[in-house]
Structures are given as C-alpha cells and as structure tokens.
C-alpha cells in the first residue's frame, strides 16, 4: 500500500531542486529580533528565514518548531549581513540594503502560526492510521511552504550606496549600526565605508583607504571608533583625528564633537583613517600560504582581535603590537569577545573558546563543516532565550544553550 503510494507520486522537479539547494546552502548572516524571541538567518540564495527561538527552546518543542516559521526571498544574491534596530531588520548582500519591519514580519508569523494551528487541530481527529494520512500532511506542508516563499514579504525601503559605475555591482559584506549617531555603516566590494543616515536614508559620506574589498567592521566605544578589516590584509581605524593622550578617557570622537559644533555631518566628514595595522607584515601572525586577508574583527576598549589568512591574534591598539597569537591553523571567519573569553569560528566544525592568554579553553563541535557567523542573543527582553547560535556551510543553525555543548539545530 505504502509502496504503491510512493510510486504513484514521483519526486517532482521542484522538490529535487529544493533538496539540492539545501545540500549546498550556506548561511552567511544572523540577527536576533528586538524582542529576543526570534532569529533571522540569511542564506546564499537570498532567502531570509525566521525561526522562533522561544518555541524551539520551550519544553514542548517539536521537530517542526525547529523549522523556519516563515521564509521569504529578500535579495537576488546572497544575504551577507544583517543587523536589527529596535524596529527594523536590515539586510544586505548584493549591493543593496533593505529594511524590513520586524512588527510586520512577526505579524505574518503569527498569521501563519494561526493557520497552522487551525489546520492541525482539524487534522487531528481525522488522521487515519494509514500511509495516506502522512502523505497528505506532507503534501500540504510542501504546498504551504511554497506558498509562504511565494507570498514573501515587502521591504519597507531599499537603498543602494553611490557606487562608481562598474560592470559588477559590488557586494556589501558588513553592516554596522552606530546607535548614538543613528547611522548605518556599509562596507564591501567597492573598498569604501559608506555611512547612511537612518533618519533620512541619505548617504552622507564615504571613507576610502582599503585597496581591496572589505570583509568586516567593528565599533568601539572610544576614539577611533570604527574599525574595518579587508582582503588587503590591513585593519584600518577610522575616527576624528585625535591621537592618544589628548582626548582619550573613553569619550571623544564624533558624538562628542556634535555638541560643540552643532552640525554633525561636517564633523563626520572629517573622520579619516587614524591608524593602520598591516597584520600580514608581522611575522608572529602572518601566514603567506593562507593569504593576507582579514576575515573577522572584534574590539573591546584597548584591545582588538582579528583573524583570517593571518593567524587569530589579540592586539593592543594603543601600542599597535600583537599580544597573543592563538594557535589555530584554520582561517577564522568570525570572532567576538564574550565576558572574559574570546569566541571564534571558521573552517572546521568547532566553536573555539580562548582565554586571553592564548590557551584554548574549549572546542565545541557543531553540525556544519565550516562556520561563518556566531550570534549571541543577549536581548534583556527575553532572558529565557539567551543562547549562542552558529551558522555556516550548511542549512543548519546550531543552538548552544550554554557554551559547553550544542543543544540542537534549527534547519532551513
């Protein structure tokens, strides 16, 4: 009976294609909703999936609560970077940045949920103990999914930085929010940092200096404020020109200047390259066979950690000297400070936890062969959803409820 049913319905082209897509999926970016209960993940096909962390973490979580609640086609190319403000989800990848209202996305989610629950309760009493029931539910699930992805979501706005015309539209690899300026900084393929005013949506200024494309950005709470790392092997620090001594003490930079001069744009335009660290030139950490690119970057007061082609290294910024070289052969793609630890991930299955002294505290294996992004959900609004999520070269997002082990995986 069951066999007959399977033969009757051969695998459709659509399903084969979806299965192949899932097999070769890469999840580049993640972002947690302002309420802390939802996680958005963007993949290499330009899709964004919304997962419910609270449902997946609840005690009565089922398999389907680890599937996306809604998936929509956001971009034509890969979604390389996403950030969340308190209202919007900003996503970028193929040269454009798009904004989506979290409220609207979540409304959609709740509608889908309502529908889902409705059909489920309807199905419950009707479900016969035969294979037909299963097939039916499977088919309807596929139809529902196709329906969701078709219906999609409409973005609130979309903007493109002023590129010089070129054959190929440069990609956007990194987004960075500067909350106190209400600015969004974009960086990527055209080797520049573009700043967009989130109030008006206008591009205010651009910083030039990198000689190859930019991989990553980081924000610092003192001057110089913005750090960028790129394919050219340099970490560049941007800010108002006030060197050590004069205006340190945790303040200074752009925000401070606003009050004294009134107009912000004038001062922001004066931001320039203050310091350059050419990581590959330091033989402690250079690895010429891996290339000189800087793939990840994070800062904490006077300290910076960066990695990529060169080894993962902790730098003291004031003296711009490498302090600790972490003994990890695989190139690292994401790094972040967490409490007194450094978390890093890259080629290989593991999330690496380092002491500042350079000792490897733990290596926690995940389910993907390579990792590209880590996300720590520290939204105070949802303390029960405080988790670490890691994603990379697979269709799964690993969830770590504590730093010791992988609890489960969300899957596209």
């Amino acid at each position: 009976m069951e066999r007959a049913a399977q033969q009757a319905v051969p695998l459709g082209q659509m399903e084969v294609f979806q299965a192949l897509q899932r097999l070769h999926m890469t999840i580049f970016s993640q972002s947690v909703s302002p309420c802390g209960k939802f996680l958005a993940a963007g993949n290499n096909y330009g899709q964004i999936a919304i997962f419910s962390l609270s449902a997946a973490l609840s005690s009565e979580a089922k398999e389907e609560s680890k599937k996306p609640m809604v998936t929509f086609q956001a971009h034509d190319g890969p979604v390389y970077s996403m950030v969340s403000t308190d209202r919007h989800l900003l996503s970028a990848g193929d040269g454009e940045v798009k904004a989506w209202l979290w409220a609207e996305i979540l409304k959609k989610v709740s509608v889908e949920l309502g529908e889902g629950r409705g059909t489920q309760t309807q199905r419950e009493p009707l479900r016969p103990p035969s294979a037909w029931g299963h097939r039916e539910s499977y088919d309807s699930a596929i139809i529902q999914q196709a329906f969701l992805s078709m219906k999609g979501c409409k973005e609130l706005w979309r903007r493109q930085p002023p590129y010089r015309t070129s054959l190929e539209v440069p990609e956007i690899n990194a987004l960075l929010l500067v909350p106190k300026e209400n600015l969004l900084i974009l960086a990527g393929g055209d080797c520049q940092l573009h700043a967009m005013d989130l109030e008006t949506g206008t591009f205010m200024w651009a910083l030039r200096g990198h000689t190859d494309y930019i991989h990553c950005l980081a924000l610092r709470e003192r001057s110089p404020e913005v750090l960028s790392g790129g394919e050219d092997g340099a970490v560049r620090l941007w800010g108002k020109e006030c060197r050590i001594g004069g205006k340190t003490g945790g303040k200074g930079g752009w925000g401070e200047e606003d009050a004294s001069h009134g107009s912000s744009s004038a001062d922001l335009r004066t931001a320039k390259e203050v310091q350059t660290i050419e990581v590959y030139k330091h033989e402690e950490c250079s690895r010429p066979h891996n290339g000189r690119w800087i793939g990840c970057l994070a800062t904490d007061s006077d300290w910076m950690v960066c990695g990529g082609g060169p080894a993962l290294t902790l730098w003291h910024l004031r003296s711009s000297t490498p302090t600790t070289v972490f003994p990890m052969r695989a190139p690292q793609k994401h790094v972040t400070f967490y409490q007194d630890l450094i978390l890093s991930a890259g080629q290989g299955r593991c999330v690496n936890q380092w002491q500042l002294s350079g000792e490897l505290k733990a290596q926690v294996p995940g389910s993907s062969p390579g990792l590209l992004s880590l996300s720590l959900n520290q939204q105070p609004a949802a303390p029960e959803c405080k988790v670490l999520t890691a994603a990379g070269n697979s269709c799964r997002v690993d969830v770590f409820t504590n730093l010791g082990y992988r609890a489960f995986s969300l899957s596209f």
Partner: protein
C-alpha cells in the same frame, strides 16, 4: 455672635433639641463653611481646657439640680413642686446631653492622639532605617576606597626612570608634557609607554648583539672547519697518488688509513675506488677556482669489516665457511621461503651469490644539493660488480601518487646506457654456474644484491667480451678510467632529470570527481562530489571554493541541460567542471614568499578574484562579453 448662631443652626440633624444654653457658648466652633457637621473637625477647634471647665461646671450644675430635686421631693410639695421638678429634670437632661457630648469629644481626642503617636513612631522608624542604610553604604564605600587604595598594580613593581630624566629623554609624542604635567595618571601611562618603548629598543639591541655573536661564532666555525678540512684534503691527495706508488713499488710508510683499507678491497672495487677518487680530485681541482670548497662533487668511502676481508684473503679455503655467517648470509634468509630443491642446494646458492665484505660508497652531489648515493658490491664467486642507488634531496619531497616510483632505488639508474637494464648478469660464465645450482636468472636476486649494470663492470675495470664465454677476466684500469667521466656525467644528468620530473609531477593538479547518478537521470540530475589534489587535498569540507564548484554543477544544473530534452546534462556538467577547475587554478593567489612564476598563469578574464565572506572565485561565465564574474 450672629454669624455663630446662624451656623449653630445648621447641624440640626443631630442636635434636634436645640439647646441654646449659655453653657454651649463654646460652640462657636465651626468657622469653616462645611456643609456637613463633623464632630472630628469640631474637636480641633475646641480648647480641651475649656471643655474640662465646662465638664466641671456641668457636673456641679447636675449635682446642684439633683440636690434641688431631692430637696423639693423631700419637702413633699405637690403641684408647684411637680412643675419645678419637671423644670429641673429638663435642665439636668440638658446637662446630661452636654456630658455625653463631652464624653464623645474625649474619645475622639484620645483616638486622635493615638493616631498621631503612631504616625510619629513610624516616621521615626523610617528615619532609623534610612540612617542604618546610609551607615552601611558609608561602610561599604569606605571598604571600597581602602580596597582601591590598597590595589597593587603591576606597574608599581617596574622601576621607571625619574621624572626629570623622562621629560628630558622621551620624545614629545610619548611624554606629551602639556597633557601629562598636570595629570599624574596620564603621566604614569606615558612613562610606562616610554618604559615599554625603551625596553623594546633594548630588546632589539639585545637581539642584534645576539645575532652578531652568532655571526662571529659561525665565522669561527667556518674557519675551524676550513682548517680541519685541510688535513683530509692533504690525505686525499696522498690517496690519489696511491696507484702510482703501487706500480712503482714504492712502499710509503705514511700510508693513509683508507689506503690501508683499500688494500683489502677485491681488485675490481679497488680499481673503482682509485679511479673514482682520482676523478673526484680532478673535478674538484678543475671546477673550484675558490680554494675553500669543502663540498666535493664526488666523495668516495669504503664500508664494511676490514677484519673479515683480511680473514677472507689469508686462508682462501676456510674463509668461505667462516664467512657464511656474515651479513651476506643474513640478507639471503628471506630467500628461504622460496621453494628450493633442498637445503644443500640452497646453501650452494648462497655461497654462489656471496658478496665481498667490503663495499665502496660513492656520493655524487648535484648542484641543487641532492645527492646520489651509490654502493658498489663485488660478488666474489660470480666475479661481477653490482650497485645499489639511493637519492636524497636537500628539501623534503612531497610524493604525489602520480610521481610513483620515479626515485625508487630499483629503477632510478635503469637504462643509463641504452639497453642496460641491470637485470642480467654481464658475465657470460655465470650462466653455467647458475645452471649448477638451479638459478634461472639473476633477476630474482637483484633487489638484494644490487644491479649488475654493464657500466658498473666497466668502472670496476671488468670487461666481458660477448663472444668468448670462457675468457678469464682481469681488472683493467684503463677500461675504468675511460668510462669514469662519461658515466659520472650520465649519472648526474639522470638524477637531475629525475628530480625535475618528480617536481613536475608533484605540482600537477588533479581533480577527482565522484558522481552519483540517479536511475531517473536526466530528469533527476547527477550529484558531483569533488576532491582536488593540489597543494594538499582539498574537499568541500576544507575549501569553500570546492564547495562553490560543486554547487555550480549540482544546483545550477538547469543552465547546463542544453536543448530539450537535456540528455547532454552529464557531459555538459563535466565540461563545466573543467572550466571551473581552470578558473580555480588560475585565480589561486600567488604566494609571494615562493620564488618563480605562477604555476597557472591567468588566461581567463575576471573582474575580481574574490568576493564575499567566503572568498568565492568568479565561476560564472558571462557569455557575450567573455569574462568571468561572481554569481
């Protein structure tokens, strides 16, 4: 008073009887314009002292009235009395009312008093609590302050230069006098910076001194070595003259140690030894115009036990039995496993194939520091020479599968001269000896014994004319000498070409693709998994670009279907894979630290080499324009 009276009328609800008595004059109370009568409010306006007076007065009045009533009653009057009694009663009733009123007022006052006390008490409690909190806070802050004061920073253990010295010596961008003069914290930071800077400089100096020392030590070493190499050089000159000495029968007392050993060599090995040494010397003299060149192109040495050789030489009959335990026998133990006709025959064979205990070691050095080690043996009973070869290189070689046995000892010297495989014995007489002990061909023993190449025999001065099988061979120096130079040159060329070939094989990129074909091909596309062997093994697990290539053929298969119905899919995928591999190899970033040109020069036109966080290469071909871009 008029206003009072008008107000007095208002609270009629309770005081229905009116009571306009003069005793109630204190009811001048309610000044406020409240519409409702409130006794509680009334309390505030009345004077408790006057109430007390009123109470006393009322009590007196009551007493007085009671007494009057008593008096009237006791007098026993009738009508008039009754009227008067009634009058008094009414008056006393009024007084009772007053008393009651006063009683209520007293209760209210009491309650009010209690409330006030309670309130005050609570206030005091709250203040007390606040006081305690503040005290705690003070204590805590004091503790923190002492903690901070007692904090020992690491920098306190560092001896810093004095302030004056600091400001005098430190460059202004570190000292920043205008900032640090007034601010001790910034000052300390700056001084620490200066200290760090100085220490860095000192460390640099220390390193320099160390390297200087190293250099000097090395120089000393080199000079020492030169000095110590003088002696062997002199010695080897002596050696080169040995054959002359021997021919002329000029016994040299100071015969070299190696020469002593050489004397025990069998004649062919001796010829080889002498000729090789002489050739080596000649080359060293001709090539090296700079005197201190210790790495000779050709070095010769003798290996093996001299004692055994001596024993072999003196009693020729016994020696064969004595030496049967020697290493030659051990090497042949492996042969035991071969099916033999008998133990006796086996022993005979071993005897037949026995090597002379001494062997000559020749190290031939090439320009790139790779060395060809040749070990020459002499098979005494067969009267032939064999050679074993081994190649060592200056740098570690990565051996790819495809390079195979390019450098294996077995084949590296094969066919040095045309047709010289080194598998057959060059001495025709041997064939008869073999027949006796049942050896078919020498080929089976070559791995153990070494290869009996023809040129080896010639180097040893052994000449085997083909037409005369029974001809006894004698060692001939002129034969060896005439072949030495050409052979050495050939050997060198051979090693160099093999190494070059090996290098080329190693650098070849090899792509392996595993394909899963569904029975439903081509409606269900095949799935490729790739593995690239080039500079290490690369798969989708450790290389994002291999993953991208797989994705290009697996996911984007629709572009490769070709015209309907798309049966060409697999072929197109394979062709696409070739293009992808070309792009992959051509766009590989060149490591600057390695010299030489790029292995795969870029022929394809690409807008950019890498894109995105995964650093994907441009795999997408744009048809009419003819360049590659990113998907």
């Amino acid at each position: 008073m008029s206003s009072e009276s008008s107000k007095k009328r208002k609270p009629k609800v309770i005081r229905s009887d009116g009571a306009p008595a003069e005793g109630k004059r204190t009811r001048s109370d309610t000044e406020q314009e409240g519409k409702y009568y409130s006794e509680e409010a009334e309390v505030d306006l009345r004077d408790p002292g006057r109430d007390y007076e009123l109470y006393k007065y009322t009590c007196q009045e009551l007493q007085r009235l009671m007494a009057e009533i008593q008096d009237l009653k006791s007098r026993g009057g009738k009508d008039a009395q009754a009227v008067e009694i009634e009058d008094r009663r009414i008056q006393s009733c009024v007084h009772f009312m007053t008393l009651k009123k006063l009683n209520r007022l007293a209760h209210i006052r009491l309650k009010k008093g209690r409330d006030q006390t309670h309130e005050a008490k609570q206030k005091v409690d709250a203040y007390h609590l606040q006081l305690q909190n503040l005290l705690y806070e003070v204590m805590h802050l004091q503790k923190e302050i002492t903690k901070c004061l007692e904090f020992k920073s690491k920098h306190e253990e560092i001896d810093l230069v004095s302030l004056e010295e600091f400001y005098k010596e430190a460059p202004p961008d570190i000292s920043k006098a205008e900032v640090t003069m007034g601010d001790p914290h910034q000052q300390t930071l700056a001084r620490l910076d200066w200290e760090l800077e100085q220490r860095k400089r000192l460390a640099e100096k220390y390193r320099e001194c160390l390297s200087n020392k190293e250099k000097i030590l090395k120089e000393i070493e080199v000079k020492k070595e030169y000095l110590s190499s003088l002696q062997p050089r002199l010695n080897s000159i002596m050696q080169a003259s040995l054959p002359v000495q021997e021919y002329l029968f000029m016994p040299f007392d100071q015969a070299h140690k190696q020469y002593e050993t050489a004397r025990h060599l069998p004649p062919p090995l001796y010829v080889l030894f002498v000729q090789a040494t002489a050739y080596g010397q000649a080359c060293a003299h001709r090539k090296s115009s700079q005197p201190p060149r210790q790495d000779k192109m050709l070095s010769v040495a003798i290996e093996g036990s001299v004692d055994e050789a001596k024993a072999l030489f003196k009693p020729p009959e016994d020696s064969q039995d004595d030496e049967s335990d020697s290493d030659a026998e051990e090497e042949q133990t492996t042969k035991r496993r071969r099916p033999t006709l008998g133990v006796q025959l086996d022993d005979k064979r071993k005897e037949m194939l026995k090597r002379h205990p001494l062997s000559v070691l020749l190290d031939l050095k090439c320009k790139d520091d790779s060395v060809l080690h040749l070990t020459f043996y002499y098979l005494m009973n067969l009267n032939i020479m064999t050679v074993k070869a081994r190649v060592t290189t200056a740098t570690e070689l990565i051996t790819p599968i495809s390079a195979g046995d390019l450098l294996s000892p077995d084949s590296v010297l094969s066919c040095l001269y045309p047709g010289d495989h080194g598998k057959k014995t060059p001495n025709p007489a041997n064939q008869y000896q073999f027949d006796k002990v049942g050896i078919l061909t020498l080929r089976d023993y070559v791995l153990d014994l070494g290869h009996p190449y023809l040129w080896v025999q010639k180097l040893g001065g052994l000449h085997f004319p083909k037409e005369q099988p029974q001809h006894t061979v004698i060692t001939d120096h002129s034969l060896s000498a005439s072949h030495m130079e050409t052979t050495m040159k050939l050997l060198k060329t051979r090693v160099q070409s093999r190494l070059a070939l090996h290098k080329q094989f190693a650098s070849l990129a090899k792509l392996q693709a595993a394909v899963v074909l569904n029975p439903g091909y081509s409606s269900i596309p095949p799935i490729f998994q790739l593995c690239l062997n080039w500079k290490g093994e690369k798969t989708n697990n450790n290389d994002d670009n291999i993953r991208a290539m797989e994705s290009e053929v697996n996911v984007c298969y629709k572009e490769l279907c070709g015209p309907r119905p798309g049966h060409q899919l697999l072929t197109n995928q394979l062709q696409r894979l070739c293009v992808l591999l070309d792009v992959y190899l051509e766009t590989e970033s060149h490591d600057d630290s390695v010299e030489g040109p790029k292995e795969f020069p870029q022929e394809k036109m690409c807008l950019r080499l890498f894109r995105g966080p995964s650093r994907i290469k441009p795999f997408k071909y744009n048809h009419p324009q003819g360049f590659f871009s990113h998907r």
